[in-house]
């Protein structure tokens, strides 16, 4: 990236929450994320929420492996990069040791409910007072667009070249609905970022999930649908229509569990 472009990016993200690591994004954003990728938008929503709730100086981020894992450099917070899928385990220990901090994971769908499914279920079972943000782009992005647990029926990926077939690969996994079935979960929702209004709603979901942790109620889980133009083989703008027409019909948006106390 040229110095001129870096300067432009720096200028454009001026005014964003201070937790958003401006220098890092200016230096690395376009090198590390594809055009039209919405993963950095998830980071922005989280950063805004942390600032609005006034919990930036006591938030600890646990990353992941995958496109969402790249984000870890973009937060000006204490942070830990765990093994693939093990964010909820790492977050469990940190939160137990530092109960006054705010501990959250940012994980891709592959990290969270493929390799990390047992870590997720373990944390939900124990009602860990952490916040889990799962970024769902319906495929394994970093490794080149392979089938993930969230891949849509019929979706072509490099490991489902004929399209996902229920007889072979089954059906998309619904993490937010699953999380909502756990008694120890205080909040579970699914949002998207494909319109300004959906961004605001999703930010609200993230805020509520963090609020439940601040109130020590139970686990918060937010699944965020994001565009992956590169691996969807669409333009960034087409990807937003694809979310509306194909992804949301499979993954309905909204809140699936929202309680302020658990008996």
């Amino acid at each position: 990236m040229s110095e001129e472009t870096k300067g432009l990016v720096r200028e454009r993200i001026t005014g964003r929450p201070e937790i958003f690591h401006r220098e890092w994004f200016a230096d690395y954003l376009w090198d590390l994320f594809c055009p039209g990728c919405q993963t950095p938008v998830v980071a922005r929503a989280i950063a805004e929420v942390l600032v609005e709730l006034g919990i930036g100086d006591k938030a600890i981020m646990v990353g992941c492996v995958g496109c969402s894992g790249i984000l870890i450099g973009g937060f000006d917070l204490d942070r830990v990069s765990p093994a693939h899928g093990r964010g909820p385990d790492v977050a469990t220990a940190i939160k137990r040791i530092h109960p006054d901090t705010i501990v959250f994971t940012v994980q891709g769908d592959g990290d969270c409910i493929a390799i990390g499914s047992s870590s997720l279920v373990g944390a939900l079972t124990r009602s860990e007072k952490i916040t889990i943000i799962m970024v769902n782009n319906t495929n394994f992005g970093t490794t080149g667009g392979q089938l993930g647990p969230t891949t849509l029926v019929g979706q072509v990926t490099t490991t489902s070249p004929q399209g996902r077939s229920p007889g072979v690969e089954g059906y998309p996994a619904h993490a937010a609905e699953m999380a909502a079935t756990f008694k120890g979960v205080a909040y579970s929702a699914r949002g998207s970022l494909h319109t300004p209004a959906s961004y605001q709603r999703t930010k609200g979901y993230i805020r509520t999930a963090f609020q439940r942790q601040m109130d020590n109620v139970g686990t918060g889980f937010v699944e965020v649908i994001t565009a992956c133009p590169t691996n969807w083989h669409l333009t960034p703008v087409q990807s937003l229509s694809y979310i509306e027409e194909h992804v949301i019909p499979e993954f309905p948006l909204g809140e699936f569990r929202n309680v302020t106390s658990i008996e």
Binding site: D57, G63, A93, I97, H98, I102
Partner: protein, 360 residues
């Protein structure tokens, strides 16, 4: 006055952890180490410490990663199949330079097999069994008291070198019952853990802390400089931390090399051999890595021969061969020396004595 109790090896792990001020334990039930997690489930909450039973060993080792990243003294314990599941985590802990203690109570392998003692995890413990290129300090106790004491040393060495430490026990050492004096050992000062995560607002300089299982280019590290740093640490450990015990080796013609329960067996066999005028002694490595190679070389230069006694089909014997480097004859009393062919068998002093007679 220090408390003196009668307890088994697995409980001594727990007492050692408490004596060391361990603040976090993560565990998953597996035989033959269940007494450890049951003891700590009972004792840690009483002391305001954290006990979490996880959903699997993969989770425990990653919880340990999180706890170690916070800079508190933390540990887990497991047996051989769980140890297998933990290897990715062990590699990550070593790569992230996170101090912690992992107790491995070995049982028969490979695979699931049965629930009794064995010494078949020597290689994966001492050579870095996960994604390659790392080493962990490995301490091998041979008594209940030493189990308790080495647990404390393990926490100290982990903190001193910012490296995971394995305490290598087995199903037999875990269940042998002996007197134990519970006491806190002082090994000296330790560096401050200014690298630990706590929330950015907690750091004096106001700057964030980032920890992960790889080199950090933002700190000016390159891949190779990171490898060199790790190698330098390993060389420091090799230079400073070799521990072993010699038993009647002064004038020995044959030195038995054994760790853990096999060392106890070997000492008994050496005594019996001495009673018959056969000059046998025992070299017992206490650190399996760093391995006490120099003392073996010195014994070889003096004309000693070696009999490695280990309850596997031969793993530590390779390190003895490397150390001796062809200068002396090396024999092996392995798992085929068990007094029963079932998993309940153990290497008995009488079989080792027979081998000493044959060799001398």
């Amino acid at each position: 006055m220090a408390e003196r109790i009668l307890c088994e090896g697995n409980e001594a792990v727990g007492w050692g952890a408490l004596s060391a001020g361990c603040q976090c334990f993560f565990g998953y039930p597996i035989t033959p180490q269940n007494e450890i997690i049951e003891f700590l489930a009972r004792e840690m909450p009483k002391r305001g410490a954290i006990f979490v039973q996880s959903q699997c060993e993969t989770a425990t080792i990653n919880m340990l990663f999180g706890a170690a990243a916070c800079g508190v003294r933390a540990m887990t314990s497991t047996s051989s199949p769980g140890w297998g599941l933990m290897q990715e985590g062990m590699s990550n802990l070593a790569a992230a330079r996170l101090p912690c203690v992992v107790v491995l109570v070995q049982r028969v392998g490979p695979g699931v097999q049965r629930l009794t003692h064995s010494q078949q995890d020597y290689n994966s413990a001492t050579k870095g069994g996960g994604g390659g290129g790392y080493k962990t300090i490995v301490l091998a106790p041979a008594s209940v008291q030493e189990t308790h004491d080495l647990m404390q040393l393990a926490f100290y060495l982990a903190d001193l070198y910012r490296n995971p430490v394995v305490v290598l026990s087995d199903g037999l050492m875990g269940h042998v019952t002996e007197p134990l004096e519970v006491k806190t050992l002082d090994f000296g000062p330790l560096p401050e853990k200014d690298w630990a995560v706590a929330g950015q607002g907690q750091h004096a300089d106001g700057k964030h802390v980032a920890l992960g299982a790889s080199y950090n280019p933002l700190k000016g590290e390159t891949f190779v400089s990171y490898l060199v740093d790790m190698r330098d640490t390993y060389q420091q450990i090799e230079a400073a931390e070799v521990r072993y015990e010699e038993y009647r080796t002064d004038d020995a013609d044959l030195v038995l090399v054994a760790y853990g329960y096999c060392a106890r067996v070997s000492e008994e066999a050496a005594d019996a051999a001495r009673a018959e005028g056969l000059k046998a002694g025992v070299l017992r490595p206490i650190t399996l890595w760093p391995f006490p190679g120099q003392v073996l070389r010195d014994l070889a230069d003096r004309g000693c021969r070696f009999l490695v006694v280990e309850d596997s089909m031969g793993q530590m014997v390779d390190d003895v061969r490397i150390a001796v480097n062809g200068k002396a004859e090396i024999s092996l009393a392995d798992a085929t020396f068990r007094h029963l062919s079932s998993e309940d068998g153990m290497i008995m002093p009488s079989r080792v004595l027979d081998e000493i007679r044959r060799l001398l």
